[in-house]
Subunit: 395 residues, 2 copies
Amino acid sequence: MRQDIVAVCRAIAAFTEEPGYTTRTFLSPPMHDVHALLRERMLRAGMSVSVDAAGNLRGVYGGRTARRLLIGSHLDTVPRAGAFDGILGVVMGVALVESLRGRRLSYGIEVIGFSEEEGVRFGAPFLGSRALVGTLDDELLAKCDGSGCSVREAIEQFGLDAARLGEAVMSSDVIGYLEVHIEQGPVLESLDCPLGVVEAIAGQSRYLLRWEGKANHAGTTPMALRRDALTAASRWVVRVEEVARELEGLVATVGQLEVEPNAGNVIPGLVRASLDVRHAGDAVRETALRRILEEARRIAGQCGITVSWEQRLEQRAVPMDVRLTELLAEAVPGAPRLMSGAGHDAMIVAQRAPVAMLFLRSPGGISHHPDEAVQEEDVEAAYQACRRFLEVLDV
Amino acid sequence: MRQDIVAVCRAIAAFTEEPGYTTRTFLSPPMHDVHALLRERMLRAGMSVSVDAAGNLRGVYGGRTARRLLIGSHLDTVPRAGAFDGILGVVMGVALVESLRGRRLSYGIEVIGFSEEEGVRFGAPFLGSRALVGTLDDELLAKCDGSGCSVREAIEQFGLDAARLGEAVMSSDVIGYLEVHIEQGPVLESLDCPLGVVEAIAGQSRYLLRWEGKANHAGTTPMALRRDALTAASRWVVRVEEVARELEGLVATVGQLEVEPNAGNVIPGLVRASLDVRHAGDAVRETALRRILEEARRIAGQCGITVSWEQRLEQRAVPMDVRLTELLAEAVPGAPRLMSGAGHDAMIVAQRAPVAMLFLRSPGGISHHPDEAVQEEDVEAAYQACRRFLEVLDV
């Protein structure tokens, strides 16, 4: 079984817009091939298959009642992606239905391959799961890609009817949503664990800071008379890391930093720096953010320069459903609980249904890269855990 | 007198390649206008005037002996320059000869307006003063500007004969070189002094450092598992400043810093940073450089990343001539002694003759900018000081 899941993911990776790499954006032509491959397997497993108006592939396997468990993830990729981000969760869903060999549970299963999660083509992520919860609105539909094609036009060009988006919204009989996903980080590997149960998707604060000193000649300006924007910003970068290390589970990153005029013999007059702060708990994140911005103010004052900032993103944490997550944890005894630092479709689905997420170890923590991988024994462990989860739910 | 010197500098600033700004590179067409204006004044002051094969304007005022004092600076500018950098020293030389009203000293005076000091057009500075000391060699003559024109061709296009460069070399009767220049820094202003006597032109070490960590997802990589090239480089930038502040007279600058991949949600995997260290004493500069590079190695080790560097420039300090500088200091009682953090023609002339430099206060420390200025009373003070210097030399 496990070889099969990995093999199908690798086969799907060959459907690409860019030969030699895996690049598959929202409703790009190779998405038709992905749908064809998965539809074939879904049908063989006894599912009824459709593509909704947002381009989500949906396979329904009936149960003894109308209640329905959703299992899924996304089928689109970042440019030059790996073979497992998103796809693995969809292929896993199909494999779980196959494992039932026609046996009916007390609930049905709907496997969903979301059309869009990465936000690459239109700069707006989660187009697929937003359709599922009914928030793919006119504003989003009007967004255009680099070639001037709107989301609505992309839907039509794929052969779908945007007027029927209302039918894509999930039914009220949904009892939960399970997403299996690679961790895309190094935590499970560092713990030597194949699987982890996600407790929450981290909240995020993103800021842009502007440090303004005074550019001056590097040779003729004594140290005591400088207003160096980079030495001030550097003191702050060091403090950002220290604050993050003091708060359990917090991550804080200065990923972008630009210097002006950026010449070796000129004291930097201006520095622009990004700040990205994430934590599973909103209160901790807000505390950290406050301390980091206070530090910026304090350091700027000490250095005789000015600092200002603007908020770019403020996103609250999304906790997984407590009951569903406990049931999932029962099916993976001993698995560590962790936070997801990245966003996932489960974040969006959580607006309408109880959600749970299972992470697989990412070798080297590598993702969004052709070297992205999974270990076959980890896929097997995830598959067995999910089978137990289906049984636990079957009451 | 002082109004006149400032007025002539401002008049010369109107001769430009770029209307609305002062931009005048090596032997560009407006340099003809500069020569015409200064030649006229030199002739009226009783000087014989020529332009040597490197494009240096040279006015000779005879003395009672063949011995000769050189007074000069450069006539070219950086792009969008001010009106005083370089030019002031040449106009001052002419004004000093004018002040003699035909009186002969025991030595002659040669005022030189160097054709090139800034290195803008050919990326090689000091083309004018190198011709004076005989080091404007074939390699330099073959250098090309952005349009593919060589130094040699630029000389011919200006109407000069590069074959006669040998005649540009200074005579053996030169008793010294005096350069009056704006400070281009904030030291004299901070000391509330109009003039300063230069003791040395600082030695410089320039390096490029490469900090290599590992790029990773800012949301999914816990603090303890990161190898962030920017937090490491930032620790070092802070230490560079601290080391510089500990050593009297040292300046050390990280002026250029570039991050890869430079995205807000990606931990920096690579940082390239420049280092510029200057001091009047080579031993102090070498000590500082060693400590700064040791700090880089130590910090990289602590952060689990690698750092490497390459030397870009290593230039020893150039002390001014002790005797000539003492005579100059006698003429400016109470003037502070200082180091020049920037290079000047005097650095090159020092290879063949005793040199001395007098700095004028730069309001706001501003230079290489249209706002570059001088105070008229400071120009007057410099003029009077130089007149006294000429008298002291007249033995």
